[in-house]
Symmetry: D2
Amino acid sequence: MSGNTFGSLFAVTNFGESHGPAIGCVIDGCPPGMELSETDIQPDLDRRRPGTSRHVTQRKEEDKVEILSGVYEGKTTGTPICLLIRNTDQRSKDYGDIAATFRPGHADYTYLQKYGLRDPRGGGRSSARLTAPMVAAGAVARKWLGRQHGIVFRGCMQQLGEIEIGFESWDHVPRNPFFAPIADVSRLEDYMDALRKSGDSCGARIRVTASNMPTGLGEPLFDKLDADIAWAMMGINAVKGVEIGAGFASVTQRGTTHGDSLTPQGFATNNAGGVLGGISTGQDLEVFIAVKPTSSIISPRETIDVNGQPTQVITKGRHDPCVGIRATPIAEAMLALVVMDHVLRHRAQNAEVQSPLPAIAASFL
Amino acid sequence: MSGNTFGSLFAVTNFGESHGPAIGCVIDGCPPGMELSETDIQPDLDRRRPGTSRHVTQRKEEDKVEILSGVYEGKTTGTPICLLIRNTDQRSKDYGDIAATFRPGHADYTYLQKYGLRDPRGGGRSSARLTAPMVAAGAVARKWLGRQHGIVFRGCMQQLGEIEIGFESWDHVPRNPFFAPIADVSRLEDYMDALRKSGDSCGARIRVTASNMPTGLGEPLFDKLDADIAWAMMGINAVKGVEIGAGFASVTQRGTTHGDSLTPQGFATNNAGGVLGGISTGQDLEVFIAVKPTSSIISPRETIDVNGQPTQVITKGRHDPCVGIRATPIAEAMLALVVMDHVLRHRAQNAEVQSPLPAIAASFL
Amino acid sequence: MSGNTFGSLFAVTNFGESHGPAIGCVIDGCPPGMELSETDIQPDLDRRRPGTSRHVTQRKEEDKVEILSGVYEGKTTGTPICLLIRNTDQRSKDYGDIAATFRPGHADYTYLQKYGLRDPRGGGRSSARLTAPMVAAGAVARKWLGRQHGIVFRGCMQQLGEIEIGFESWDHVPRNPFFAPIADVSRLEDYMDALRKSGDSCGARIRVTASNMPTGLGEPLFDKLDADIAWAMMGINAVKGVEIGAGFASVTQRGTTHGDSLTPQGFATNNAGGVLGGISTGQDLEVFIAVKPTSSIISPRETIDVNGQPTQVITKGRHDPCVGIRATPIAEAMLALVVMDHVLRHRAQNAEVQSPLPAIAASFL
Amino acid sequence: MSGNTFGSLFAVTNFGESHGPAIGCVIDGCPPGMELSETDIQPDLDRRRPGTSRHVTQRKEEDKVEILSGVYEGKTTGTPICLLIRNTDQRSKDYGDIAATFRPGHADYTYLQKYGLRDPRGGGRSSARLTAPMVAAGAVARKWLGRQHGIVFRGCMQQLGEIEIGFESWDHVPRNPFFAPIADVSRLEDYMDALRKSGDSCGARIRVTASNMPTGLGEPLFDKLDADIAWAMMGINAVKGVEIGAGFASVTQRGTTHGDSLTPQGFATNNAGGVLGGISTGQDLEVFIAVKPTSSIISPRETIDVNGQPTQVITKGRHDPCVGIRATPIAEAMLALVVMDHVLRHRAQNAEVQSPLPAIAASFL
């Protein structure tokens, strides 16, 4: 209710602050009997980790995950899985003057207004560092969904500031620091180098997908699959927009174009982005998010201090000049968590359902 | 859990099908002691009602609301408020052939896959008719929020198909059938007349706002105010995209531009759309949604039937050629319901909070 | 959150007041494809209905249920089932002086304190009449559980005031107005006749059971099956105590006696009442509840009025001299609702579980 | 949903196994600005700790609590509070043969049936050790409720096996290892010494109360204050019965006796146990629970092994001969957690309520 639990049947409760002793999460609802160890989780954390290239924050965090519960003799027991990540690099003094002023575009101001006090060290609870436990939980969901249904989650960057990035192949994504699906990222590197030099930050557009989706996931009226995806994505730090399938392009489409024709071999197109009426069609989920530019920048900004007096703020410390770069593995994890929850929800109510369709009945039913 | 309840502390459980005996909702959590009668609710329902112009469906539904519980001697008692709307215009035969085929872009297919059977009359549960109880519940929330906090919810159309609609004044909105904030809508009328004649449908872009917002609403990490707004909006039939504030435009913004400067008089701009770190800033909430073109169109579409055989479908009946037209009062209601829930949630945990800020401390704290 | 929804996956939202226009509920989460009509529900309502013997309230309510949604062509569609019961016998004037005073033992006082106002007609929301929608919802759960798992719910009276009632046979229960499992109820009739004459009321002890239970239902740590049963039973009007299996008798038992031995043929005894560690054992659920004497009695009682002044109150109107009599079908329904929810919850997380036990592996696994 | 979260607005998510690396909980919803450190929590944990007298288990656990998050500069921040307790005394070999057989009266059997596998070390997740994090969370709730409302929670033993324990004074409770409210406990000591020698175990009856209660707490219809208390108490390991106020004694009471008269000075008696219609009256909450005898005993018991073959089981290791002894601080904590949740829930919906009563209007309103 206070907003730190994600999901209902595969419920992930997140805790911790950027510079406190530890961050982590408790997963409640993981089915029993699945093999699980830290080595299933660490690779996803490493993809999100800071310090992996010059284009992201140079904060040095190992993000080493420890399983504290819920696993016995290498298998999940069906009881809560607590994942703990100790914070190791806490240069709190970097954040000294942030405590007395508000960064434009940052949660400094709203946290103070909501709670009457705040932990200013590294953004405290509002830090994007808190996405690490979600990536860890997402890795657990991904493993289960992969095993049970063969579902695959992938993401990539589709725009960096003004630079639109075409799609060449998923194979390129792990080979460059931008999660870009293109072979040559030199233009992106130059762009980022210039941006850093200017002391400014930029936004990004990220695409995230799920393949081999079961049909029938999603609860109308309100916990529609796409509604829950929108909720999950907008809950990621710095996200300001979410699209499913054709998204805002559907505004200028005609009904004759937008509606994806059905054929005995499946849908002809995917303007729906894999969701109709809030329920998965069996096609790939296609989601796009807008990530705003980082608010912690070295350029001076007009603001007020905690006494309400006008002042300027410069954010030193080690910040991502484009938080969108590291958003890809986060968005993948969030999508996996949404799908996981809906798989469990679906079978609670609909386990007996037999698809009446002979031809294109999807895997799930 | 099965997706028919909206909200947690101001929880609205929706029931009914388009052509069943009745639709309605149960509101659980309305504070006691507020004067309430059907006359508080009917005007909002009338704004959403079909048949009010030639540009929307000609289905004739009175959408007359009846309060079945939760009000005694004209005041809310704090117990559940059941709102009932009887369905009166049920020409079920119009929908006969829809039962055996799937409309491209419609939930026909996914409902059948999820549940193994479906009510095809007028779209059954997947009909946009089910937004009527939400508009009714929204009217209750709007009254309470207006009385207690002076919050005002407004919406308007900002794009109809290819036509971008500028903003002249909120005053124009109730004076035309498009909820357009402009004086002269003749271009929109011509556009819609041509569209209907062509047997096609189009999308729309809708803006919805909340003014006089309290500061401090929204629960990090996951039930962020903007995340819940995204969830609510994406849950409206036919919505494919949601933006908060600058939205997708923030991708190409710099941090120096995007971050709204703070001054002793308030924020200088509103790229944030009234939300930072998932918590309201006290500025107006600014939300934009993309509504896809109607899938029920008279133009023939390629599809399959329930035996998986290829066929064509033509949707007769009385459908909106642009569902986006009637989306404005719906989106306003949904926004009101999200804000209502967060006001109640906020004071559960934070009732004692005193803002430490002397100058621009918002009304809420 | 405001306490009018029962269950999570089979969620029943209850609405209405004793003398308002209608009472009812919305069931969200009923699996699709089950045949359902009013005739499945009405018999259970008739068992609970007032006016069926001289020993219960003479209020004349038909309690005729109407299905408003969620059923199409005689089958559940998986969407919310709204059940409506119109109130027909509303002699509001009977309750005139109750509005200004507080009945000892009644919710009059606490409702006024909690909400600042209350609907005094027939107890308003606090009336036991609001158990009728639960009996109706319970009938839906019972049908599904009977079909899918063969589970049978039964209840009976085990004590009426000072009279302990032995157990002869379930067959006797429907043949007398007390739900007593004995052939000769003349002693109970005399007792009630004398009680009515004295203008007083008495308590009762009710037993309720579930047979053919699946093994493995119940969620540790907190939503234990017995914990949820206790919650459901204590939520019934006038219940002051709940026991599972040996209940309070276990205080004086030894571990060597209490712990039910396991044999290849099953458990040797059932002190556990069918639950160990919060999870069903596959044995019968055995639940006992204490129902307090009715607080609405004709004997004068010391109390205060709404101005805080001392006064006396006499409750006229048509009240049950022992609310425990009609509690049996209510408790059965509540038990069915708890089991239903846990069946759905269990299969969400544990659908893949294979029992490693060869011999007494229960039906569910 | 999977049963490891307690409460809704003050939500405590519990994790860990008896012999895993750690146990703990995450509290979500603690109001910000309260001073909090480990020293507020440790005393309650020490009251529950094993090894404090010869009458309880000799397992040596320090139960040292560490606050991992949610506190900054000694004050709660309104963000999740993670409390961690490392397990230090894990003699797993003590439990070797338990893995292959089922203790009568224990969750061994049901866990295996539900999950298909289980962690047998010290009972794994079903161990009463998992009440420690609840006691820790309860300490946080108690501090807040004490500060804000002056509410005090107390408990005591009222029966040990066959020995009924009278009530002399709360002052005696902390001075003996039984939490008995009597000066001379030699009879209890003799009883326990004989019991241990016999290799058997016994049950207990525990009373737990809350004083200085606000009026108006509790949500009808279902989340009644007493229903939630029953749920919380029945959720404690080994509890088989719960009573509120007069409890099962109300079965033989008359309405003229049971209903507590109201006077300008307050209620004359407290058969209600502080709850009417599910809402607090402002009187003391009075709750009684039945704790069954420990199932882990050294006396040989008939059972089956995991191959379904008949065998005998003897439980060595270090077990409480009466788990009821350490139940008192646990029950106090659980009651505090229920009240805490309802205080937050109440003010969400009812913050504006003004009591219309001049005389005995309680503190809360």
